[in-house]
């Protein structure tokens, strides 16, 4: 036994040391690493009925990834424009939603951290958490209620005379995008709030004394300081939005599919688990690439993102 383990057990004792070691091993291997690896393997295999899994007929193939790219073998199109389109739309929409959330949250976070001080400010910060206590599905439902043809928004717009007939927000995906922006907005505002709050007020004062206009103060002082918070918030919002299933299912128009819905479809409606796995893996890889990109661009560490 190496000195490391000797030390480890000296520190923790036998019983406790074994428990911690075992628990961590189970969590890391059995729950995190092995399932992902198995899914990776599974996505490269033919779609055979479950009894034949692991038998000789369950051979390796690239067909599922090929399908995502080119569609059916005898398809007329050269690419699988439908699924690729869904993938592209999901990623672009997730980026868009993330951006919207960022634009919404930054001013509010700054306001709460540096303008609204005292009891009111604290109350406002506390109350930010409230919507997060509500289930994601119900948050989506609330938007369905609001944006429906007989919903409050339509009623209000028509009452104001802006619209003269109900607008189908659901079909046009307005409801979906607002719902998605809403769903994870708190994961954007809190990291930014925490980061902005830790900024020393004197720095802002100093910049103001030197005659810097307000937008330059933000650009040169506040935003650089809040960078870790912004990165962390953006990453979380992007991941959750791209991986969202409930909101698109509930708020998505009839024509629009979210990429997770395709995964869901392969699993539940088409019973093609292998293809579902392949699609899920593509989503996973896209998310990992995004996180790495964010870490590279903004030079932050993972520890700063997941907090």
């Amino acid at each position: 036994m190496s000195t490391y383990w000797k030390d480890y057990f000296r520190r923790n004792g036998m019983a406790l040391g074994l428990f911690v070691l075992l628990a961590v091993m189970v969590w890391m291997l059995v729950m995190i690493i092995l399932p992902q690896l198995y899914m990776l393997d599974f996505s490269f295999r033919t779609n055979v009925p479950p009894p034949q899994w692991g038998t000789d007929t369950h051979t390796y193939t690239l067909e599922h990834y090929r399908y995502l790219l080119y569609g059916n073998v005898n398809a007329t199109e050269s690419f699988n424009y439908l699924d690729l389109g869904v993938f592209g739309r999901t990623i672009i929409a997730a980026v868009f939603v993330t951006f919207i959330d960022l634009c919404l949250c930054y001013p509010v976070a700054y306001y709460l951290a540096h303008v609204a001080k005292g009891g009111w400010g604290r109350l406002m910060v506390m109350s930010l958490i409230v919507p997060f206590w509500v289930n994601e599905l119900l948050r989506a439902f609330a938007f369905k209620v609001m944006f429906g043809t007989g919903g409050v928004i339509n009623d209000a717009l028509m009452w104001l005379g802006i619209l003269d007939q109900p607008y189908d927000f659901i079909r046009e995906n307005v409801a979906l995008y607002s719902g998605l922006s809403y769903a994870y907005i708190l994961l954007m505002i809190f990291p930014i709030y925490n980061a902005v709050e830790s900024l020393d007020r004197n720095q802002i004062e100093a910049a103001r004394d030197m005659g810097a206009p307000w937008w330059r103060i933000h650009w040169r002082v506040v935003i650089p300081h809040a960078k870790p918070g912004i990165t962390s918030g953006s990453t979380m919002v992007f991941m959750l939005t791209a991986g969202a299933l409930a909101a698109p299912q509930i708020l998505g128009g009839p024509s629009s599919l979210w990429f997770t819905q395709l995964v869901y479809k392969w699993f539940n409606n088409s019973a093609n688990w292998a293809r579902g796995s392949a699609y899920a893996l593509v989503l996973l890889v896209a998310c990992i690439v995004f996180v790495l990109l964010m870490m590279r661009i903004f030079k932050v560490k993972l520890g700063e993102i997941a907090r």
Partner: protein
């Protein structure tokens, strides 16, 4: 200075808008739970009712799902809290060089999409089941087991973060002191570390339960045939929209608010303790033995008051003639519709008379003209004329087949046409693409529908 004031005003406006965006949807949804309208809406407020809660409490599928969600939630607490604790304890002990890797691995489930976790859990345990030759009704194919495992994968990472932040304040010399004084490792853990971690354990447990309770993305794959609250809810919301879901939302919000309040109690107590310890250590103040949660208590009392008030209102409203109100609303609606129809008819008749007069005058004029009849201006009264003819066959001019697509919504002709239809077949579902809110047909149709539906509901 004025530009400064304008900016300030603008910012305030923005912040207010933000909070409206944050709370508006929830408040509106909450209100719809108490409106007797069969469609979740607040705008035409009909009657205050708690019948949707009744509907809810009779929904067996939902109740089963709720029970399962509770069981799974407890399972996840039992599973994810120890895992998270172990993960946090391990973090300080792994070698410097492997620590970033270790952290990346255990934190990754938070960043992996929920559907991916669900799928991989499902597949992996299926494979294990096959390896052991387990039967289809064994653990490896059990929705409870799989969901608990699948959810714990990432919830353990949440709880780990809770423990890490608490452990950062732990003076590990205390553990050494206990050992040095003769305690065994287990005694040290039980008597020193656990009491210190107690608030963190409580808050991690609450967090784990809430996270499990509201999880959908992972559960929808791992639950297999087991129904949980979220899966039932999802199918309900996807395939229909009805105020009992709002009622469910209200119930859940109330329960979660209570849960979250408890969570907050633990967190605040812990923070206050830390703050005080810091102050005492810095010699700023003496420790007060009776510490008061000055901020928390009013908040808790408020929450409780609102809760009680809500229950009270619901109770009284429930006992105070909802039925009469509904009947009254129905009657009112009927009368209103009737009135509107009559009004319109009168107006149309008057217009028709005026038109006929104008027609007479024009006929004289037209006889002098050699112009073709293909004249399409919407302002042309020619256009109006043939349609009026359709609905009023008594008018002599029927030479032309009116094929014009005419879409002005303020066109009285249109109104007339429809009101005509209505007289013939009031129960018909109109297939016309006609969307004016002033459309009496629409109004009537909907009130008819809601009557039918609420009738069906109260029949349950």
């Amino acid at each position: 200075m004025t530009s400064d004031r304008i900016r300030k005003f603008f910012v305030l406006f923005f912040v207010c808008g933000f909070f409206l965006y944050l709370f508006g949807p929830l408040i509106i949804m909450g209100l719809t739970a108490f409106n007797s309208s069969a469609f979740p809406r607040v705008a035409p407020w009909e009657c205050f009712t708690v019948e949707w809660f009744d509907v809810l409490s009779n929904d067996t599928r939902l109740l089963t799902g709720l029970r399962n969600s509770f069981l799974i939630g407890f399972g996840v607490v039992l599973f994810a809290v120890p895992l998270g604790l172990a993960g946090a304890l391990m973090l300080t002990q792994v070698r410097e060089r492997v620590r970033p890797w270790y952290y990346t691995i255990v934190i990754s489930p938070i960043l992996v999409p929920g559907v991916v976790l669900g799928i991989s859990t499902l597949l992996f345990w299926d494979r294990i089941g096959v390896m052991f030759g387990a039967s289809r009704d064994s653990l490896f194919y059990n929705g409870f087991f799989l969901t608990i495992i699948g959810q714990s994968t990432f919830i353990a990472a949440y709880t780990m973060l809770v423990f890490i932040s608490r452990l950062q304040r732990f003076d590990s010399a205390q553990e050494e002191a206990a050992l040095d004084l003769g305690a065994t490792h287990v005694q040290t853990f039980r008597k020193i570390l656990l009491p210190f971690l107690k608030p963190a354990i409580a808050s991690a447990a609450v967090l784990a339960f809430l996270a499990s309770f509201e999880n959908y993305n992972t559960t929808v794959f791992t639950a297999i045939s087991t129904s949980t609250l979220t899966t039932v809810l999802a199918s309900k919301v996807r395939y229909g929209i009805d105020p009992s879901i709002s009622a469910l939302a209200v119930s859940i919000v109330v329960l979660t608010v209570l849960g979250a309040a408890i969570h907050e109690v633990f967190k605040r107590r812990e923070e206050a303790e830390a703050r005080q310890a810091g102050l005492v250590a810095a010699g700023v103040m003496e420790r007060k033995s009776t510490q008061k949660q000055w901020f928390l208590e009013p908040a808790l009392i408020m929450i409780l008051l609102v809760f009680i008030a809500g229950l009270g209102t619901a109770f009284f409203a429930g006992t105070m003639g909802v039925e009469e109100c509904k009947v009254a609303v129905r009657e009112q609606k009927r009368i209103e519709t009737q009135k509107r129809i009559e009004e319109l008819q009168q107006r149309q008749q008057a217009e028709r008379a005026a038109q006929q007069a104008a027609e007479e005058a024009r006929r004289v004029e037209r006889s002098q003209r050699t112009g073709t009849e293909n004249f399409n201006s919407i302002f042309s009264s020619d256009n109006l004329q043939p349609q009026a003819g359709d609905t009023a066959p008594a008018t002599p001019q029927s030479e032309r087949a009116g094929t014009e697509n005419f879409n002005s919504i303020f066109d009285t002709q249109n109104l007339q046409q429809q009101s005509g239809q209505q007289e013939e077949a009031p129960a018909r579902t109109g297939t016309e693409n006609f969307n004016s809110i002033f459309d009496t047909q629409n109004l009537q149709q909907q009130s008819g529908q809601s009557e039918g539906q609420s009738g069906g509901q109260s029949g349950q």
